[in-house]
């Protein structure tokens, strides 16, 4: 008899070897209590959160919390049903209205997670004889969307406009094509050259989907993302987003101007065959989205934090994922998994939580300590963060 678990033996071995060096398991941290968007208790210690994607710090906003509490009282704890049956409440519609307004688009569809939004839209839009052309460093949810459908998949080198254009030109002119891009690539925190990429995609007759999970609320004039900042948002057919980052709750969405968009509610399986978000979640999301439309000051402070952390870490001698701060993510490149795990632990013991990322999530087999800044990080916290990085780096022997 074959133990179906035997395929994981290599990974189990690798984990055991890592833990036997005495480092704490970086993938089983528990936050015992959370005090604010930037501070939690971990292992009994007050810890600054620098790896949460809580970019705009909306998780403890008074209006957001109040909206959630009211929805709990008025609509109950859950919908117990699909969006297309008994699972669409006033709050789901209100959330979709807020998204339409936020993006200035005609249609919005709320999914239970951003992961499911990518699964659903990608697998449904690209059929058997269609082509999906995607960046090789695409998020797992994009690849899984490809795997769920049965289109032909063509990958091109990360952020390489020429490689994209060449491939588009080689595809049959009459074939349906969906180009899938991300505004911000979350591993290194770099942004895509969307102006050029959208232009070559449109010239080839392709539809374009941009995942703006890591840009909502603070990139582009209205916080609509990198496509807005690049001036091409009107040429983008689908924007995918999530409530789990800037919006500060959970859920996913797709917005579009396509006149036939609403049919997707009937044919998109990850939308139909799962329960809808709880009323309190859509109420907090809608409130947060509306507040993000007028969050100019927060946005400015987030950028200030990101630039300062980038400069500070560079000055200390760390090697970073981008030459300058391009987003709310600053990725610190570690020499290997062991050093990465040691550094992660040294930071945590000094009261700083960052995100440890390892292959296959990372490009080029890199181990990364990903820092994501929050508009609610104070300048003092950024100073503290730099001090902790310096001390931990010396401890572990990276600096």
């Amino acid at each position: 008899m074959t133990d179906l678990f035997s395929k994981f033996d290599a990974l189990i071995g690798e984990r055991e070897a890592l833990l036997s060096t005495g480092v704490r398991d970086p993938f089983s941290l528990v936050m015992e209590s959370v005090k604010s968007p930037t501070v939690a208790m971990c292992n009994g210690k007050e810890t600054i959160l620098l790896g949460t994607y809580n970019y705009m710090g909306m998780t403890f906003d008074d209006d957001v919390l109040e909206a959630g509490k009211q929805a709990l009282d008025n609509f109950g704890s859950g919908t117990t049903g699909s969006r297309v049956l008994n699972g669409t409440y006033a709050g789901h519609r209100e959330c979709e209205e807020a998204l339409k307004e936020f993006y200035g688009m005609d249609h919005a569809m709320v999914f239970s997670t951003g992961y499911q939004a990518n699964l659903g839209i990608i697998s449904t839009m690209a059929g058997k004889d269609d082509y999906i052309i995607l960046d090789i460093d695409s998020h797992a949810s994009i690849y899984d969307g490809c795997a769920l459908g049965n289109a032909q998949i063509v990958a091109f080198r990360h952020n390489d406009v020429e490689a994209l254009e060449k491939r588009l030109k080689r595809l049959p002119a009459e074939a349906g094509k969906l180009v899938v891009l991300e505004g911000v690539y979350s591993m290194l925190g770099d942004i895509a050259p969307l102006k050029e990429m959208v232009a070559v995609s449109k010239a080839a007759g392709a539809m374009v989907l941009v995942d703006e999970a890591h840009s909502m609320g603070f990139i582009g004039e209205h916080g609509r993302g990198v496509a807005e900042a690049a001036g091409v948002i009107d040429d983008v057919d689908f924007i995918i987003g999530t409530f789990s980052k800037s919006v500060g709750t959970v859920g996913g969405f797709c917005v579009s101007n396509h006149p036939k968009f609403e049919v997707l509610r009937l044919v998109c399986r990850p939308y139909v065959f799962t329960a809808s978000l709880p009323p309190s979640v859509v109420a907090t999301a809608a409130t947060s989205i509306r507040k993000l439309m007028h969050a100019g000051n927060k946005r400015a402070h987030l950028w200030e934090n990101s630039k300062r952390l980038h400069q500070g870490l560079r000055d200390l001698g760390f090697s970073l994922g981008t030459p300058e701060a391009q987003s709310g993510i600053i990725a610190v490149i570690m020499p290997d998994m062991l050093k990465g795990a040691q550094m992660w632990q040294a930071l945590l013991e000094r009261g700083l939580y960052v995100n440890l990322a390892r292959p296959p999530a990372t490009p080029a087999g890199m181990t990364l300590l990903r820092c994501s800044l929050c508009a609610e990080h104070s300048s003092e916290q950024v100073t503290q963060i730099l001090g902790i990085f310096e001390a931990a780096g010396k401890d572990v022997g990276i600096l």
Partner: protein, 79 residues
């Protein structure tokens, strides 16, 4: 064009990525014999695509394990 002409052109493209100097045959595998990681595979696929002006989709790549299978696939795509 014959198999051997395609084989020779593919072999020439493999050369710069063949860091271990593995002797090539039709049954040489990319993953176990040449020990290529996913990044190397992507660069190599791009080189083959440019050489023959074709697209090798990821769906096709999943079916190609050996040099011989790649030759057959390129032959089909350029036919």
């Amino acid at each position: 064009m014959t198999d051997t002409a395609i084989y020779d052109r593919i072999a020439a493209q493999i050369e710069p990525f063949n860091k271990k100097g593995v002797a090539l045959t039709e049954s040489t595998t990319f993953a176990s014999d040449l020990e290529w990681d996913s990044l190397t595979v992507m660069d190599f696929v791009a080189a083959i695509e440019d050489e023959f002006d074709i697209i090798i989709t990821m769906n096709m790549q999943a079916e190609i394990e050996t040099v011989g299978q790649l030759v057959a696939a390129v032959e089909k795509l350029t036919a």
